[in-house]
Subunit: 194 residues, 4 copies
DNA sequence: GATGAATGAGCATTCATTCAT
DNA sequence: CATGAATGAATGCTCATTCAT
């Protein structure tokens, strides 16, 4: 793997773990086995490295989420919605570094990123919203969800997702997390389908 | 107000907004109208100042939550649970700085705080759990919640709370947030009570 | 003498000798017997230190020049003009560091100083011009200088001064310099008075 | 034009404008449209590039001056001397970059150049002196200059030249400069011929 | 309590230079 | 010839911290 790629990965992990200000370029370089100035052969400066890495993580998350919409017809609404949570969980597990980074900086953006990130977040949020809407509409068509206005259900589901996002990062136990995921979803579905 | 108090407040806000590493003692001092070394008259060092401030924020949050349990008998279970969310929201609004700080460092603790914070969090979490349990039991006694095992409902409710916590910090609009809060709770209660 | 003062003097000499870019703050600090960051207790940054020092040198030169005009009546025009050169020479000798600095940066200003310096130079130049004018007028009144238009003589005298300024810095020998000064002035006066 | 030649020209301009320490090799390379290490194919290091360029500028100036001596018989002494100034002026205009460089580093040589430059300067100065001497002697033979010792007149003329050199770099206006040149020379000639 | 002076440690960044390709 | 990758050395600057006053 190229030095540039390795720098990106080290940066991803360290920026995620210790934050932008808490991560020295020298640490990133050291992890890659290179001296600090070598970074400047690939990135303009610390901010550039961070932004590159952050954008990539964000894109990776968005792509992951977007792929859900391709599968809508195969499953019932309930299973589709559960799959959304499962997929989010899968992303956290397979791309832990990206997840941490995205979550961290979406909730606590450094000043110089605030605007860019809000933009990116609204984008991603809108995408997700429309996917959820489709699944819920599907549920109404199927009859598994009674006819009612859409927004409350979408809001509730997004709330479940956000709650699970936070919990993923402070409940380290797989079992506990999966239990919480199931309980949250079951209660949600109960509320939606009755 | 004493310098010490003023330092605590400035530190609270700045540590919350810009993070531990992103906040220089000189900034805190400047906000208070004092030179940096003056801080050392009250706090051993940066870490000490941070810990003091963090602990206080955490305590403030815990106290706020704890006060809920005193009121259990006056209201029905549904209203009591809704009040929990309302109270959390109230805390965010009245003590925005404390909220940001607690949320930020519970989810992303700096290395030197990891252990302390996990302890504190488990504590707070346990407290909250038992309060929620009581309200749900009350609901079962009242008949507003069908008999069933407790944990799923508690997990679901805590998840609603966590979701709302995150959302408070990235949806800045009051109206949007309140809508999301109501929709999340209504769906939860629908799922729980049916 | 205070550290601040000592810093200024070291900066004056080093900036004059080795230029702005050729002088590291660490050198200045070292000469004063202090570590580099101590500089920041007194000056905002390198540019600030330089500007302070430069402005002071410029002021010092201007003051020196200005003092000439107070003495006009005591001497004949010829002696007064010769005294201007003598006084400039005296300034170079007594304030060698200031001289070098002023000359260096008036002729070769760094980009960030161009404007400020041009301003300061025009100021100083105007001052000097009017002093020379007075002495020449005095010469005409006395009859030592034939009536004629002023500007050619002023231009010629200022040119003598500029030439001597340059020569001071590349002819290190006192004797040679003084000879050149006398020859230049004598020829000038010959040209002016005939 | 060859890369080597282009490098020399870029170096000439940049070293003249911003000084040796203020000019990065990368800037020079960028102006030529080449990467920094390419420079090392032609020059041993920065110093070598600088010295090459400086020597060339110095030679160019010397050659220019030397060419004056070939023409001595065609004109009267006065016109010949005026031509020296005109030619110097012409050189400044046609070879502005070279002029700046020569002037800058003759007056303010960097440490590593001091010796070389003093040598070169004395050489050039001697050359110029002997040319001026010839013209003045010619004037005496012609009778346009009264018999007298040579040195004062040579010194005075060189002073005029030096003054004009300095002024060329801080009076940007062509008209002003030409006026100053004429006034300086006329006064000089007046002084010399009477 | 509070401050001015000072510092050690560290950081982002620049730059001249090297070397394999 | 020219470049990409890499580095050692240095630079300006920041920051937490100390200490005498």
């Amino acid at each position: 793997m190229t030095t540039k790629q390795k720098l990106k990965e080290a940066a991803m992990r360290l920026f995620g773990e210790k934050g932008y200000d808490g991560t020295a370029l020298s640490e990133i370089a050291k992890e890659v086995g290179v001296k600090t100035p070598a970074i400047y052969a690939f990135y303009e400066n610390k901010e550039d490295l961070f932004m590159t890495v952050f954008r990539e993580a964000m894109d990776s998350y968005n792509t992951y989420v977007q792929e859900l919409s391709g599968e809508k017809k195969k499953l019932g609404a309930k299973e589709s919605l559960r799959r959304v949570l499962a997929r989010q969980y899968e992303f956290y597990q397979r791309h832990r570094e990206e997840s941490v980074l995205v979550l961290r900086y979406v909730v606590f953006p450094p000043v110089f990123l605030k605007e860019t990130i809000e933009q990116a977040f609204l984008n991603s949020d809108g995408l997700l919203t429309s996917i959820i809407e489709q699944f819920i509409l599907q549920g109404m068509e199927e009859g598994s969800i009674p006819d009612q206005s859409l927004q409350p259900l979408v809001d509730a589901f997004l709330n479940v997702m956000d709650g699970l996002a936070m919990q993923y990062f402070y409940y380290t136990s797989k079992e506990v997390y999966e239990r919480k995921l199931n309980h949250a979803f079951d209660t949600f579905w109960n509320g939606v389908s009755s």
